[in-house]
Symmetry: C2
Subunit: 332 residues, 2 copies
């Protein structure tokens, strides 16, 4: 393994000069630069980032903890974050928490041990007690993504309440009164906020929330399928369904289809979260789509800002969703 010292010797300069030509951190005479570059080329030298990080105190690495890499939504999120970060010269370490604080803690501890310059976390339920304090103690820049918490740090999440409310109101406008909702995993803001939007829409029209029409899908496709199936097979089947995230949508659609029911004929359907292939479903799904790219890019920018020590109060950013009016709601 060739080190900076080897290169320096070969070029007849000091290691510090080699370091400076490599990093452009100080003026170097053109001729010596050439000699150094020649030596680098000759030896095939490649700097040791670990030593570099130790000496410099920065790793140019950021960590990302999310809850389900298999969910296309998070895949896009990782993609957006990765791009913004790599453009800035950082690399991304990803960890999948499976929405469990224990795994989340293991992941973030490991990231902290590795001295990441910052981290982005989609907090699992209970995160504010279990894992965030530990991160805060180290002073590592942190931005929360996808779910908001009552803590003092940068956060970026989609607009939830208003979007869910619009979705529900649309159904109400079409005359539906028995509207069921399929909720995501409990304990996180997205679930709560979206549910709030649903409740607000109903309440606003003087309709009470019927507990029997609230199905807990737990953000598991299988659970949602089972529960929705049970509901739709029961006597008090709703006339419309609103699904609160893409996993819930898949489960719901499977349930409906397995019962031989048709959408929107037998039951109207709208959902939070859009799919790239929404218009290939039959019928096309009326949905509130998140702007995942913006969410990811924004989170990365906020983090980069903190890493650069550009201070300021914590910011909480809501990214608007886009309403896609298609046909599963029963319109047109």
């Amino acid at each position: 393994m060739t080190t900076m010292g080897d290169v320096a010797r070969l070029a007849g300069v000091s290691a510090s000069t080699v370091s400076h030509v490599l990093n452009g951190t100080r003026k170097v005479d053109a001729s010596t630069r050439v000699r150094v570059e020649a030596a680098i080329a000759e030896t095939g030298y490649r700097r040791n980032g670990v030593a570099r990080s130790l000496a410099a105190g920065r790793t140019h690495t950021v960590g990302l903890s999310i809850s389900a890499l298999t969910n296309p939504y998070f895949g896009s999120l990782v993609h957006a974050v990765e791009r913004a970060l790599s453009d800035a010269g950082y690399v991304l370490i990803v960890g999948d928490s499976h929405d469990a604080v224990e795994s989340e803690k293991r992941i973030t501890d490991s990231l902290l041990d590795r001295q990441v310059d910052g981290m982005i976390v989609a907090p699992a339920a209970g995160s504010e007690r279990s894992t965030l304090p530990g991160i805060a103690r180290t002073g590592t820049p942190l931005v929360l993504i996808d779910r908001m918490l009552d803590v003092d740090c940068d956060q970026v999440a989609p607009e939830n309440t208003t979007s869910a409310r619009m979705l529900t109101e649309h159904l109400l406008d079409l005359g539906h009164r028995r509207i069921a909702v399929v909720r995501g995993i409990p304990g996180i803001s997205s679930t709560t906020e979206r549910f709030d939007g649903y409740v607000a829409a109903l309440t606003d029209r003087g309709i009470g929330v019927d507990a029997a029409l609230v199905v807990e899908g737990e953000s598991s496709t299988d659970v949602a399928e089972r529960e929705v199936r049970a509901l739709m097979a029961s006597a008090n089947r709703p006339t419309a369904l609103v699904s609160m995230n893409n996993a819930m949508t898949i489960g719901t659609l499977k349930a409906v289809r397995s019962l031989g029911l048709s959408i929107p004929g037998d039951v109207a359907f709208v959902c939070y979260d859009d799919f790239e292939w929404s218009d290939l479903f039959d019928p096309k799904l009326t949905a509130a789509g998140q702007d995942v790219e913006t969410i990811g890019a924004t989170a990365a920018q906020l983090l980069l800002r903190r890493i650069r020590k550009e201070d300021g109060p914590p910011r909480r950013i809501r990214v608007p969703t886009m309403f896609h009016h298609r046909s599963s709601c029963g319109c047109r």
Copy 2:
């Protein structure tokens, strides 16, 4: 920031003892261990992984370069790899090459600089000339994933030829003779091998390959949609279509739908790659599904083995696909 030295001082021992209790690398008297642990707890000490890596020469980090984080297929792959790796105490740095060797080179160089203990790469076209030599030169353990190359290293990829052949033969068995194929991005083995399977099936029945029926989708949904649309709107429209990966499938279905054609009524359809929601499409897709979990887990195991210096000749593993016979082919 508290260091190991601080802990040692507080516990009244040497830094080396602290290191040993932390790592379990040598026998430590129970009583001193207790004192050390108390000191650690008291200071909230957390070891510096960077210093650790520099001293030990291992980072417990592996890099992964893939071509499209937004593709659900790769999302699952990352997930599988991440799980296997984190179980073994490693973290994963991901980079998205967008199937371009230039980005791939930047990513792998950055990973190498960071002294990853190993890396997994889904090679872009041209990788063997551009990026793999550089990796080989460092001696960093490497396993290729998703696409195979004619190079000496561990590789794991799905079964392509036979699966594509089966798909095509199924169409042939149903009486189709004008079968179009939608190919993925050129220059990688999956595209070539799957196409070979298509050709073999036709040839075997004495049917020549009609160049007009070979559409280049370039692994871009948009391109596939445009090209398939053109083909299906033309005079010599095929009676059946075989799509070679999930992005091509989305594009193809969009094209078919936009023309108001029906599957399998107007054109039969089969595809390589399965979707979690395959049976929500209308009609349900007959597909050859990859076992992504196995591919990812296998790659991780092979890599771990190399990292542990368990030698042996390079292994090339083919993971079988699963044939899902549904209705888009026109059966039943």
